[in-house]
């Protein structure tokens, strides 16, 4: 093992020798510069390798021929090696990134850079407190000096502020260190063996506070923001990554000295920093400063994780802290680098990034990584961290962190969406230096690879769970192919996947097969409609397959983590798919925010859940554990958010409406079912162990009102897709309510409805997609009379809406019958009445849908409209066919569904031939079909026989006050069709939930704006913050 002193020696020698070399040749000094950084990286790499190969424990290296505590010693363990490797690697890469800059500026820049890295290395390695002080000074002085690499008023003044703050911090640190020596008689961390209680506390307190200041904790971090904003991108990187990491590591080293109550407070400060800086970031419009807020937040998170993982086993601790660290390291480095390439201050000007495809992808990767999405390290870290915090009952910390994380997601994704979707002019194009772009790409790939590494090696995930990611990558590679080829390949892949799951994985539970049909067969049929894409559709199939395979993974997940992983992958894919829509900025952002909020609820919910026994699929595994109430509530809420339950439904119409036409059907018909699947899993566990009827009673009400409100909202829409979206919300409400009943019949009806909804909603969305494809509008009042142009679409819509409405004889009635029977049987009478009301209201929107599009007066501009493309027609008729078959032979479905539900409940429906008996009534689908056909045929024949001569008339030949109407626009009753009803509802018709969420968002922004006023820009105010922070935190702790 190479002596770690060499890290210092090499850097110092280089530092001293560079001024001489530079006299000879600048090239030489540049080579030396890179050589030193490379040597550091290689050395640390060897250590890491050595530590991975063999468990060497921690090695101590002393100086001056004496052992510690006489002399200063360095300690090298796997942790040190890991952190050192990471920061030296970033140092090397950033050094390369800055090479051009260094070539043009004075030599001092390079030396200072080396010294920053050396200071960080020394700070991490040393065990001597005073030595740490020296290295800290090296670190901060070199950092401050290098800030002026970019020479502006701003960077100078921010450097000065930094100096003042770090000056005070170093005074505290020095005093603290000396007092520690005075009280304990040693400066070496390994030999300090007294407790710092009573008045001695101040010694360690001062050291800790100094580190917190240097770590830029809230609120003593105003100067740091200025620095991030004003300095060169590369320098900001090393401050954010190298500098902060070294200090965080130092904090880790002095942790054993700190009393536990203070540690707790520092942990809270860390979490609070995370929350506050992200809250304040909401209002930020300057990209660099935003990254500054984010950096500071991440440091807070890192600090909190260091403190609150103290009791964990080392490997897990490394997973958590190391995960956050790596994530921050890579994402923030990448983002800062990109900011250096973009050279735009305003967030919205970043759209020029679109001129460079790979940079844009990297930007996305870094943002996803920073937001804690799989497979990046932050995801795993957050998962384990929340779990461990829960084990320690630190609810407050979880709340702070998750809320902070949510804010971070909000501004990061707002930025991302703005960047990816914003219009940009060609002349804004800027040519990016390709070397730096490659470097950034390398970094992004590294981050991605690391995540995959954790996934494969630490957790040992099955191939199936990496499939979503792999498919994305694979299709990205063949993205140059035409859409049809990719589509057919996807279809083939999906078919094989389904076959593979069915035959080889072998479902443990028939319910899995049901949802497999919904997820995979449904997706497969829906996929046909995407074959209509004629262009290349870059990126589309990759994301689509990623989403579909994630559905599959959800089905077979065997642990909470597998489930959550697949869930998050699904969220990524669906978010990006929605984002593809033309005006989907707002929609996709809302989708992301709500998804993340839901995911966090789930994460906490899973954290509370007891460990699973064995490795069977979740649907079996969950039956062996008893979920605590809190877990049930959180999980159910998380899943309900994804399903768009009342109160959190606001994302749903936007996402459905703004997504591309053939994507909406996936979202509505299948994605919402993923929420249902999760909700069902929780319910299964509950049913099997201790039925929590109270909670589910209220969830039932929630579902019922979702159904009602969804139906009303759907009735008041002008936009066809929005109407269908609210209709989906309404239907999901039925399903949620039915599952919440926790009864046999309830579940049968929920299953029945889930499958039915998948079919008819797919058909409807695809039909509307066809209409949109032809008419280029989603506003129903702009259509009309299309029945003559698009008869096939009309028929499929007709049959679908009959199925939705539940009018006999189609399969919809089956679900209604099961539903009401189960509600009455379960004793949920009022709920049943509300549902009945909801389904009556649903006629309003269904009629509106079919009438305003297909009936009434045709518009002139649609006179050349043709039938929808065949690729849209095929899947519709597959679904329609399935609906017809299941309507005629309902037992095909009822029997297996009943069997599924009777795994958990005593069956109380009897199936006798075509008769289905519940304890309240009966229903014979076959006979109904026959009678209906009979009563339909009789008047039909009568009419055909006796009608006499039929005269066909032209469009406007109607009895209209003896006048010919002027135009279809005035004659087609479509706009605001149910105005009376809206009026009748009065105050109930106001969009209160929208107002609530808007208000909340507004409030958060106002709060962020309010708090960030403390950063007055005045260096002296920042000093005052520091002093007051010192005082207040001390008295809080005491």
């Amino acid at each position: 093992m190479v002596n770690p002193l060499y890290l210092i020696i090499i850097s110092l020698m280089a530092g001293f020798v560079l001024p001489l070399l530079d006299r000879v040749n600048r090239k030489l000094s540049l080579a030396t510069f890179i050589g030193v950084l490379l040597a550091n990286t290689v050395i640390t790499g060897f250590w890491m390798h050595g530590f991975i190969q063999a468990d060497l424990g921690t090695l101590s290296f002393s100086t001056a021929g004496f052992t510690a505590p006489l002399s200063i010693n360095f300690q090298l363990g796997i942790l040190e090696a890991f952190v050192l490797l990471a920061i030296n690697l970033i140092g090397l890469l950033t050094g390369i990134y800055l090479l051009k800059k260094f070539n043009e500026s004075p030599l001092a820049g390079m030396i200072l850079f080396i010294m920053v890295v050396m200071g960080a290395n020394g700070l991490i390695l040393t065990r001597d407190l005073f030595n740490a002080f020296v290295f800290m000074e090296i670190l901060s002085i070199s950092t401050i000096a290098i800030i002026t690499l970019k020479r502006t008023n701003e960077s100078l003044s921010s450097g000065f502020k930094y100096m003042l703050a770090s000056g005070i911090a170093s005074i505290f640190f020095l005093l603290g260190v000396v007092f520690i020596y005075f009280f304990s008689g040693s400066l070496n961390l390994d030999f300090i063996n007294i407790n710092f209680t009573d008045y001695r506390l101040i010694a360690v307190y001062m050291v800790a506070i100094a580190l917190l200041i240097e770590l830029k904790m809230f609120p003593v971090n105003g100067w740091a923001l200025d620095v991030y904003e004003s300095t060169d991108a590369g320098v900001a990187t090393i401050i954010s990554v190298i500098n902060s990491t070294a200090i965080a590591f130092m904090f880790y080293k002095i942790m054993p000295l700190l009393p536990s109550n203070f540690l707790y407070i520092f942990g809270i400060i860390g979490a609070l920093t995370y929350l506050m800086s992200n809250l304040m970031g909401l209002k930020q419009e300057n990209a660099r400063r935003l990254l500054g807020y984010s950096s500071i937040g991440q440091m807070g998170l890192l600090l909190a994780s260091i403190i609150f993982t103290a009791g964990l086993e080392p490997v897990l601790r490394i997973m958590i802290v190391g995960g956050f660290f790596l994530n921050h390291l890579i994402a923030k480095t990448g983002l800062f680098w990109i900011s250096g390439l973009i050279k735009k201050e305003k967030l919205k000007d970043w759209r020029v990034i679109r001129s460079n495809k790979s940079l844009m992808i990297m930007f996305g990767i870094f943002i996803f990584a920073l937001s804690g999405f799989p497979p990046f390290a932050g995801f795993w870290a957050k998962w384990e961290f929340v779990k461990s915090l829960l084990a320690g009952q630190n609810i407050l910390i979880i709340a702070l962190i998750l809320l902070g994380s949510l804010f971070e997601v909000i501004y990061m994704f707002r930025w991302f969406i703005q960047t990816v979707k914003g219009e940009y002019k060609e002349d804004e194009l800027s040519i990016m230096p390709s070397g730096k772009v490659i470097l950034t790409t390398l970094l992004g790939t590294l981050g991605f690879g690391l995540g995959i590494l954790i996934m494969k090696n630490y957790y040992g995930f099955n191939f199936l769970f990496t499939l979503p990611i792999l498919s994305l990558l694979f299709i990205y590679l063949i993205d140059f192919l035409p859409a049809k080829i990719k589509g057919i390949m996807s279809l083939g892949g999906l078919a094989y996947y389904g076959y593979y799951l069915y035959t080889l994985v072998q479902f443990e539970n028939p319910i899995q097969i049901l949802f497999g049909v919904i997820f995979l067969v449904g997706s497969g049929v829906n996929l046909i409609s995407t074959l209509n894409r004629s262009e290349i559709s870059k990126g589309f199939y990759g994301l689509l397959m990623m989403m579909i395979f994630s559905f599959g993974s959800l089905l077979i997940a065997r642990s909470y983590l597998e489930f959550f992983l697949s869930w998050e992958l699904m969220t990524i894919a669906s978010f990006l798919l929605i984002l593809r829509g033309k005006n989907a900025q707002k929609a996709s952002l809302m989708y992301m925010i709500f998804s993340i909020a839901g995911a966090y609820l789930m994460m906490v919910g899973f954290g509370f859940a007891p460990e699973l026994i064995g490795s069977s699929a979740l649907i079996t595994g969950l039956t062996y554990v008893q979920l605590p109430l809190i877990s049930i509530i959180l999980l159910a809420l998380g899943f309900m958010i994804k399903s768009g339950v009342l109160g959190v439904h606001v994302w749903l119409p936007e996402a459905h409406a703004e997504a591309e036409a053939d994507v909406s059907s996936f979202i509505s018909a299948i994605l919402l079912k993923a929420g249902i699947w999760g909700f069902l899993l929780v319910a299964i566990s509950v049913v099997w162990n201790a039925p929590q009827f109270d909670v589910y009673y209220w969830m039932g009400w929630l579902g019922v009102f979702t159904a009602l409100v969804g139906a009303f909202l759907a009735s008041f829409q002008e936009d066809a897709k929005r109407l269908l979206a609210y209709s989906s919300m309404s239907q999901v409400g039925y399903i949620i309510a039915a599952i919440s009943m926790l009864s046999h019949l309830g579940w049968v009806s929920a299953f029945y409805l889930s499958l039915n909804h998948m079919m008819f909603k797919s058909a409807l969305f695809i039909a509307i997609a066809g209409v949109y494809y032809r008419t280029h509008t989603r506003n129903m009042y702009e259509m009309g009379g299309l029945i003559k142009k698009m008869p096939l679409s009309f028929i499929s819509v007709l049959i679908s809406i009959i199925a939705v409405s539940g009018v006999p004889p189609l399969s919809g009635f089956g679900s209604k019958w099961l539903m009401y029977s189960s509600f009455i049987e379960r004793g949920w009478y009022l709920q049943a009445a509300v549902l009945f009301f909801a389904s009556a209201v649903s006629f309003l929107y269904l009629y509106r849908l079919i009438h305003t599009i297909f009936l009434g007066q045709a518009k002139y501009e649609h006179k050349d409209v043709k039938e929808a493309p065949v690729w849209f027609i095929i899947p519709q008729y597959i679904f329609i066919g399935a609906i017809m078959v299941l309507s005629t032979f309902p037992n095909l479905l009822i029997k297996p569904l009943s069997a599924m539900a009777s795994q958990y409940f005593n069956s109380n429906i009897v199936i006798d031939g075509y008769n289905v008996y519940s304890s309240y009534g009966h229903w014979n689908g076959n006979l109904i079909m026959l009678v209906t056909m009979g009563v339909f045929i009789v008047p039909l024949f009568f009419l055909i026989l006796f009608i006499g001569k039929i005269t066909k008339v032209k469009q406007f030949n109607i009895v209209y006050a003896a006048e010919r109407p002027e135009s279809p626009q005035t004659t087609h009753v479509a706009h605001n069709m149910y105005a009376h009803y809206r009026k009748a509802l009065g105050g109930w018709g106001k969009p209160r939930i929208w107002d609530f969420w808007h208000g909340s968002a507004e409030w958060a922004h106002t709060m962020g704006d309010f708090f960030r006023r403390i950063y007055s820009g005045n260096g002296q105010t920042y000093l005052l913050h520091i002093i007051l922070f010192f005082v207040v935190v001390f008295f809080l702790g005491v």
Binding site: F130, V134, E137, I141, I144, A145, T148, N153, E154, L156, S157, S158, G159, F160, M163, L164, G167, I168, S170, I171, L174, L175, V177, V178, F179, Y181, F182, L187, G222, L225, D226, E229, S230, K283, Q284, R289, R1012, R1013, Y1015, S1016, G1017, N1018, G1019, Q1020, L1023, L1024, I1027
Partner: protein, 117 residues
């Protein structure tokens, strides 16, 4: 020695007060310098043992019994380092101040808040 310790604390606080209350950047740096001096005095006071002499073991000291005769050398060693570092910091601060002044020709720290929020 408690007297010097108190003195050190007073100087530290005066220095901090100056840093917080003075608008003139030179005065702020002076405040830092005073606080630094205070810290150094505190450190040296902590190493002092009553009635002992400097840790230089020349002929005037009984070498065999030296540990009973000299003051603690460690704080002195630390302060040596700290003083030099203090100088380095002060010099850098002053250069920053000078450069800032060059841009805006103002001594007041209130004039250097281009960046905020």
């Amino acid at each position: 020695m408690i007297e010097t310790l108190i003195l050190g604390f007073i100087l530290l606080l005066i220095g901090l007060y100056a840093m917080l209350s003075q608008k003139n950047i030179i005065k702020i740096i002076l405040g830092f310098s005073i606080a630094d001096t205070g810290v150094h005095i505190i450190i040296v006071s902590l190493g002092y043992l009553k009635g002992r002499r400097a840790p230089i073991l020349d002929s005037a000291v009984d070498i065999a019994n030296s540990v009973k005769e000299v003051v603690d050398p460690i704080p002195s060693a630390l302060v040596l380092t700290a003083i030099v570092i203090g100088l380095a910091t002060t010099a850098l601060m002053l250069v920053f101040a000078a450069e800032l002044h060059k841009r805006k020709a103002s001594f007041s720290i209130d004039d250097y808040k281009e960046l905020k929020w």
